[in-house]
């Protein structure tokens, strides 16, 4: 199963390395979102600094949505879905591979956005001990839930509108928990943040488990 996962993840990352869609389109989009927030909220540092954690995670969520959509769009054209089914790869392995590939891209995006909020919004990233595990747990949750709904909506004509409707409410707990953890880390009282990190870990574990259990059923569709 892990070998299959590595194969799928490797394939997706190679695809990204060659097509550079995430690099050339999703990453600039994420930065653009940060700039739009600054325009909308009046670049008065006072407001921006207070709402930085929320804006950061909303930006991650929106650009992550694009990354998930992209990751599954490549599986739904040219009969790739059938090929994937016929390949004999373990569905759980395919799921883990997809999650890993999406998570790697999301982490890269988060680093970029992190630099963005430090430079543009003047955030202070000194509580690394809390920020990094929060990012990791939130990313795993985003990637796992995103992969479950991504494969579900892939290949449907209404996928662009259906995926956000299904995925965003599911990801709301991640947004809430990650924002709260970031708030306490950036605000200089990291003690509060650990409970939220716990919630992120539970969420990630829950959706990884659900994905492993249901991916076989979801892959049956063409």
């Amino acid at each position: 199963m892990l070998r299959d996962a590595a194969l799928v993840a490797g394939k997706d990352l190679r695809l990204e390395a060659r097509s550079r869609v995430a690099l050339n389109q999703v990453a600039p989009f994420a930065l653009l979102v940060l700039m739009l927030f600054a325009f909308a909220l009046d670049p008065d540092r006072g407001i921006l600094a207070r709402v930085t954690p929320g804006l950061y995670w909303v930006a991650v969520l929106f650009s992550g949505l694009l990354a998930v959509q992209r990751a599954f769009a490549v599986e739904s054209t040219d009969g790739v879905a059938d090929a994937l089914r016929l390949s004999g790869l373990d569905p759980a392995g395919v799921f883990l591979g997809k999650v890993a590939a999406v998570a790697v891209q999301l982490l890269a995006l988060e680093v970029l956005l992190g630099l963005g909020v430090v430079v543009l919004y003047g955030a202070d990233p000194s509580s690394v001990a809390l920020l990094v595990p929060t990012c990791l747990a939130a990313t795993l949750g985003l990637a796992a839930a995103g992969s479950v709904y991504g494969i579900l909506a892939a290949g449907l004509r209404v996928r662009e509108t259906l995926l956000p409707l299904l995925l965003l409410p599911v990801l709301a707990p991640v947004l809430i928990a990650a924002t709260s953890a970031f708030e306490s880390a950036l605000g200089g009282f990291p003690g509060e943040g650990w409970r939220w990190l716990g919630l992120l870990v539970v969420f990630a574990a829950l959706y990884t488990g659900l994905g492993l259990a249901t991916f076989g059923v979801l892959l049956e569709d063409g």
């Binding site: 579900l152 449907l156 409707l165 299904l166 599911v170 709301a172 707990p173 979801l218 569709d221």
Partner: protein, 240 residues
């Protein structure tokens, strides 16, 4: 065959529900006393809590029926999951509306972002997403399979929503009935249980009807398909 989706059983059920509603209204609005702290607004309780609990029950049936569908792949489980989610959505909407009105009176605002309210709103949106999946223009078996997986995911959200007041410190009050030291007036307790029974009956009544309607919708789909196949056949015969 009769013209509607009713049968002698559902007519009795419907009559019981309506009579029960009338009795519940009498108890909730007139007979039960006002609360010491909440005064008259406590009467909201007899609608708000039963609709919420019955809605949670409805979503659990959706989750269970989704599991049933994934294991057995039979149409009945699929239709059951859909019907239960639809009725649950209506009940949850009633919970939200009654809660907002109650909140306006006791907290001064319609809405506040505490854990219970947030999770209820999320659960509602999740159910709407589930119902959207059920309306996708797809082959039925594929749609049922997708819906079953999405339905499964309602489970954790419902559990989190139900225990929100226990897990987080919330403005919304926690469990009142099951707490041991709760001193509730006998009439109030009776009215609450009556509310549970009546909204439970309402749920079952609507569920049976929705089940039958969805089942018939599937039959209509089949008819359309059979018709189309027959038409193609006739064309083929006409050519040769």
């Amino acid at each position: 065959m009769n013209d509607g989706t009713s049968s002698p059983g559902t007519r009795v059920l419907g009559a019981l529900t309506l009579i029960g509603m009338a009795v519940l209204l009498a108890f909730a609005l007139v007979i039960s006393p006002a609360d010491e702290t909440q005064e008259e607004t406590v009467r909201m309780f007899y609608v708000h809590v039963p609709t919420a609990l019955v809605a949670f029950g409805a979503f659990f049936l959706t989750v269970a029926a989704s599991v049933g569908y994934l294991l057995r792949r039979s149409e009945g489980w699929d239709v059951m999951a859909g019907a239960s989610a639809e009725v649950g959505a209506v009940l949850l909407a009633a919970t939200l509306v009654s809660g907002m009105l109650w909140g306006r009176v006791t907290w001064g605002v319609y809405w506040t972002w505490d854990a219970r309210l947030t999770l209820t709103a999320l659960l509602f949106v999740l159910v709407l997403g589930y119902l959207a999946v059920r309306r996708l223009p797809l082959e039925r078996e594929r749609r049922s399979r997708l819906a079953a997986v999405v339905g499964l995911l309602l489970g954790p959200a419902t559990v989190a929503c139900h225990y929100a007041t226990t897990w987080w410190r919330t403005l919304h009050q926690g469990p009142t009935i099951t707490t041991a030291d709760a001193k509730m007036d006998g009439t109030m307790l009776f009215t609450f249980f009556l509310g549970m029974v009546v909204f439970g009956l309402l749920y079952v009544w609507l569920l049976v009807h929705r089940f039958r309607v969805l089942w018939l919708e599937h039959r209509v789909e089949d008819l359309g398909l059979d018709e189309a196949i027959a038409e193609r056949r006739r064309e083929a015969v006409g050519v040769s």
